[in-house]
């Protein structure tokens, strides 16, 4: 059986500034090497200035993951030479000389299993290396320090996973949790990265690094388990090593560096005094902790009678649950939830679409209200939604603009039905043999009215005309 442990790096993208300087935590909008200052560039004489909000946000994560949290935290230097490290050391945390990191010994439920969290630490992200050049001769490595110093939480799990699927499940849950805490936007490129440790019975621990996405991580873990199993079957020794995920070939390859011999010469970062986190601060954080996803889900089911599946989808997504919370009341909650999960999620399936969407919670409650009181059909509502997302006009205005008002006038509808029956003579004939054809005719009526016809009325009028009654 495989044993898998994870090291997840999550950027605190919702913070205003970097961990130790005033540069922006969200570096993605900048030209290379323009979101930098003497501190994050390690210019001689500069000193790190701790972002206290980062400590609080990270503590919030630790609390949400049921971790033990310290009264005092300390920072350490991890020393190694690498071009993406301006100071050639990284400011991070260490629990070797007592527990002084943001949190430790936590847990999180994944399906029916409890995954233990070994520790959470706060640290700075290095810069970014960009490899360019078409061939060996023109190959260059460019360094962009915009990311250097971005606040990062490293979450280390115990080796509690047994399958790649569990790993994927966990990462989804963790990513939803970080999003729900409003500390991170895991959808941003590079905002959440993970390394995995994989070992099987009779083998040694192999670390897989350099994995771009959760999807690839699942694949990499799967590949690694298979690789190790086939080695064991052939009685070949599994060496303890670091392997890189080769994104092109979809395999893991030996990193060929003796990383286990890495010597980090950890020592206290004296430029940052120990930070006290007293009980008041912890209580304060606990009080302002956003409602957990599981408690939200439970509430949606018990209070509004929403199905467990819909409640799950809704609660796990911060954007849509917020939309739901603002639009819902005791009577319309179920319809709002259904509209979000069946219609809106499909329309707003990317970050960009969400950002430019003009849809408000009022729109949403109006739409549900209008459908319920038969002012528009569900089909018209869908058309209206498209418009609302684009221009944000009120539902009433859009109904006028697009002429989406409900056709529930019997005479008008009868006229249209007569037209359809004339045009679809063959279908009318077939309908005598196959009553299902009637649905096709309803569809034709809907087409002619651009979805505005009252479906029930149409059906009953059609049946009458066809002599089905």
């Amino acid at each position: 059986m495989a044993k898998i442990g994870l090291e997840i790096h999550g950027q605190l993208t919702k913070l205003e500034s970097k961990l130790f300087c005033p540069c922006k935590a969200d570096y993605r909008q900048f030209e290379p090497n323009t979101n930098i200052c003497p501190i994050c560039m390690g210019i001689p004489g500069s000193l790190p200035l701790l972002n206290r909000t980062a400590v609080e946000k990270a503590t919030l994560i630790a609390m949400a993951l049921d971790c033990k949290t310290p009264h005092k935290i300390a920072f350490f230097r991890k020393n190694y030479f690498y071009p993406d490290l301006p100071k050639n050391f990284q400011i991070t945390q260490l629990n070797v000389y007592g527990n002084t990191s943001i949190g430790w010994e936590g847990k999180i439920s994944v399906a029916d299993k409890v995954i233990r969290i070994r520790r959470i630490q706060l640290e700075e992200d290095p810069g970014r290396l960009i490899y360019e050049g078409a061939n060996e001769k023109t190959k260059v490595t460019l360094v962009d320090y915009n990311r250097a110093g971005t606040p990062l939480v490293e979450i280390v799990t115990e080796p509690d996973f047994e399958t790649p699927h569990e790993v994927r499940e966990f990462l989804n849950i963790l990513s939803d949790l970080l999003e729900n805490l409003n500390v991170s936007d895991p959808g941003l490129e590079g905002a959440m990265r993970a390394d995995a440790n994989v070992s099987i019975e009779g083998g040694s621990k192999v670390e897989i690094k350099n994995i771009g996405s959760f999807h690839d991580l699942e694949k990499a873990v799967h590949f690694e388990i298979t690789r190790q199993q086939s080695l064991v079957e052939r009685k070949i020794e599994i060496v303890q090593e670091t392997r890189h995920w080769d994104d092109g070939r979809k395999i893991t390859v030996s990193a060929r560096t003796k990383e286990e011999e890495a010597e980090y010469r950890y020592h206290l970062e004296a430029d940052i005094p120990w930070v006290r986190i007293n009980d008041d601060t912890k209580n304060q954080l606990q009080t302002h902790m956003p409602e957990s996803i599981s408690s939200k889900k439970e509430r949606y089911v018990s209070k509004y009678g929403i199905t467990s599946q819909v409640a799950d989808i809704l609660a796990s997504d911060r954007y849509f649950s917020e939309l739901f919370e603002n639009a819902k009341n005791q009577t319309n909650a179920k319809d709002i939830a259904n509209m979000i999960t069946t219609d809106i999620m499909g329309l707003l399936d990317t970050r960009k679409k969400r950002e430019t969407s003009k849809l408000s919670s009022e729109h949403l409650s109006d739409l549900v209200e209008y459908i319920k009181s038969n002012k528009i059909t569900r089909a018209s509502a869908k058309l209206a939604l498209d418009e609302i997302i684009k221009n944000g006009k009120s539902l009433e205005e859009i109904i006028n603009d697009l002429d989406l008002g409900h056709v529930s006038d019997k005479d008008e509808l009868s006229n249209i039905i007569t037209q359809v029956l004339n045009e679809e003579a063959k279908a009318v004939k077939d309908a005598k043999l196959n009553p299902e054809i009637v649905n096709f005719l309803v569809g034709k009526v809907m087409q002619k009215t651009r979805g505005k016809a009252d479906p029930e009325l149409t059906l009953s009028l059609l049946k009458k005309s066809l002599g089905f009654d």
Binding site: I43, F81, A270
Partner: protein, 482 residues
Amino acid sequence: MNLGISALQYVNSIKNGDFTVEEFIEKSFERIKEIDDKLHAFLSFNDIALEKAKGIDRQISSNQKVGQCFGMPISVKDNMCVEGTKTTCASKVLENFVSPYTGTAVSRLDAEDAIIIGKTNLDEFAMGLSTEFSAYGPSKNPWNIDYVPGGSSGGSAVSVSANECIASLGSDTGGSIRNPASFCSIVGLKPTYGLVSRFGLVSYANSLDQIGPMTKTVKDSAFLLNIISGVDHNDNTTIDNKNQDYLKNIDAGIAGKKIGIVTEMTNPDGLSTGVLNATNDAIKKFEDLGANCEQVSLGMSKYAVAAYYTITSTEAGSNLARYDNIRYGYEFDSSGFEFNSYISQARSKLGPEVVRRMIVGGFVPSAGHAGKYFLKALKVKSKLITEINHIFKKFDYLISPTVPIQPFKFGEKINDPVSFMLVDFNTVTANLTGIPAISVPFKIEDGLPIGIQIMANHMDEHSLLQAAYALEKTVSLPEVEI
């Protein structure tokens, strides 16, 4: 015009109109031109000093508000950043480093209308106690140019002692302010760790580094400390001193105070005869001033030098890692080198003392050896703090000679690292425990200076300066002739 005046005398003279700022700055540059080829106190000069002097003169003559320093020329050790100027740390690796900002201590002086006249020599990255490790050649002791001026803030001490400027800012990690102050017969104060912002000070061992004034008189040190001390939002380790005025009641005297004579630091076996005699004289003077002197043992000080070198090498190894010759450094062709071998080649060009510390700093905190060296050193540090806290419950001050020996000749000790290290014996304790310590000029013996060190409790600079002032008043020393 007498260039040998104190900062406070200078302020009075300017206020009296005895001379203008421009005249004084001009004269100072003349003196530098005349003697600095011989002394080599400075590494670079401020091109706009005269311009600034004229500006201050204009402000004075038009009765505008002028900062407390009234344009006095102050030199700054070349490991402190001043915007737009070179900060070399006396290393070739920073030969062309131009700082994009000004550090806090310097900008506070600047805000009070001090004129930063130039940057002074030091041992490369402040590692050393003679300036012999400067990549640009040593400074000379104005009392006898065959002798070292002490270090690492040797250039600063020389510039003040030889009247090239009124005062200087130095930095002290294990004695680097006090040692050259003692060797050049000036006052050198290492404040409590955290009292003066380190923002802009190029780190050597950042848990111990501290900026402090180097001056002609104790009052001048108090005057400058008033300006440069206090909490700074650019340095998380600074302490709020509530704008304490260190000049106030500086003449309160020390009658009735309890002074501990640190046994380990006054051990006759470790001191030269001249220093031993001077120390006994000093004890007598303290008693004459009404203090009660008593021997006190600081047991852990025996291990302080070893702990000091272990901790400083570890931190230096980390602080100096950024000098990888990629963003600043030497002319060095990188072709054919893999990343790590390039870095090691480039870094082998650092000076011998720096390389020595890098090697030690790579070893003592490493996974296999930290328990035997680095962690033990931290234990010594923490025990030393406990011991010091205990002692200051009973005593107001601790005293010793600042340095166990008098200035030595160039080349005399440079090839014997261990005996070199022991020169720090009396000074490192204040750094390891974070307490303030001052060196006061006390005697000229065989033409070379001897200083007395006074230490006080954490954040007790006020009372430390009172004791230093009391001692200073009992001695009358000749002017240096150069």
